[in-house]
Amino acid sequence: MRTTTPKEDFTRGIWRENPVFLQMLGLCPALAVTNTVENAIAMGLATFFVLFCSSLLVSSCKSFIPHEVRISTYILIIATFVTLADMVLEAVVPEVHKELGAFIALIVVNCMILGRQEAFASKKPVGRSLLDATGTGIGFLIAMLMMGGFREVLGMGTFLGFELFGPSYEPWVVMILPAGGFLTLGFIMLGFGYYEQRKIAKAKEMSDVEGRVTS
């Protein structure tokens, strides 16, 4: 594995290797609970919490965990923090908890978290792991916010409950339905694809120009 700087550990997950948009991890929550910005933020924060705590624990205990049972142990650790997050959310913000429902428990099976443990926390020192977890967590939060924002603004005409376009706005109900989740992520991925293509085209153009100049 290529060595990375601490700064890279942190920034990588935020955008360049965004867990949702570029690694296609954690799709289930990114699609299921992003119908409002509020839900998206709550989910993002809960996931962030679990990721951060699990990374902390895993990277600090990595020398005690035999290789054979590492996955089981990671899952156990993650599940513990998920349960904690679940209980705390239910006690503190019961309304949001009701909206998110079983999807909080499903943070356990968010491949992004297990993936970070296996790929990073179990191999790197605590500080680096926390940087990585923070970066990835922020990346996930950003993705959730983008999804939630797009869907809530179009689907209800509001952002975090604030009306944006006045009372006679015609909401695009489809956006807050399941189909809207797929379509929104699809639009974003198409945007990424378009950007990628343009970059490739530009690079090609540049090399063509250079080729012409040198020849």
Binding site: M24, L27, C28, L31, A32, S72, I75, L76, A79, T80, V82, T83, D86, M87, G101, A102, A105, L106, V108, V109, N110, C111, L114, V174, L177, P178, A179, G180, G181, F182, L183, L185, G186, M189, L190, F192, G193, Y194, E196, Q197
Partner: protein, 194 residues
């Protein structure tokens, strides 16, 4: 809430609130394994099998073990399911090496497949009894398989088309999934028609 008939539960999980297209569960195989119809079918079958076991286990754990400690559900479900999938994996490896090779890395992923844990959690929060749980698991499995096979056959066809470069890969799959989800909305209200 557990007044629903078995058929209602089955139909709801299979088409009306399709596990993948409306509840977003089991997306990893949906995006990953759904490039070939044969693999999708087998993956679906493996899922149905694991879902059934999960449902029975979740019901057993809830009724007999976790009566007093509901807060340990997530942990105990995930552990029991993980061990079960391990066993299934070994069994498949032994019984059908071809199948094992084709499903490759996705079999262990069934453990961390939201559909499995999701089934256990939803079944619990809806207070399903044993038979309702079975119906739920079968419905969910049928729904997953249906979505997988549809997606796989559509992708097989689309592979031969001139997909615009920007849509190659995930973009197209998501748009297809969105379209499927739109189409499945036609089943809404199927059980409440007067």
């Amino acid at each position: 809430m557990s007044d629903q008939s078995l058929f209602t539960i089955f139909l709801s999980a299979a088409v009306i609130n399709n596990f993948t297209l409306a509840m977003f569960l089991g997306l990893c195989p949906f995006m990953g394994v759904s490039a070939r119809v044969e693999t999708a079918v087998r993956m679906g079958m493996a899922n149905i099998f694991v879902l059934l076991i999960t449902s029975i286990c979740a019901w057993g754990l809830n009724t007999f073990v976790l009566e007093q400690a509901p807060f340990l559900r997530v942990i105990s479900f995930i552990i029991v399911i993980a061990s079960l999938v391990q066993i299934v994996e070994m069994a498949i490896k032994k019984l059908s090496p071809t199948l094992f090779r084709q499903l490759g890395i996705y079999l262990p992923l069934i453990t961390t497949n939201c559909a499995i844990l999701g089934l256990a959690m939803f079944q619990t929060s809806r207070n399903y009894d044993f038979l309702q749980g079975i119906a739920f698991a079968l419905g969910a499995g049928a729904g997953l398989t249906l979505a997988l096979v549809l997606m796989a056959s559509i992708r097989e066809t689309s592979e031969l088309s001139d997909i615009p470069a920007m849509a190659k890969g995930t973009g197209l799959v998501l748009i297809i999934a969105g379209s499927l989800s739109l189409a499945f909305m036609g089943f809404a209200g199927l059980l409440s028609g007067s």
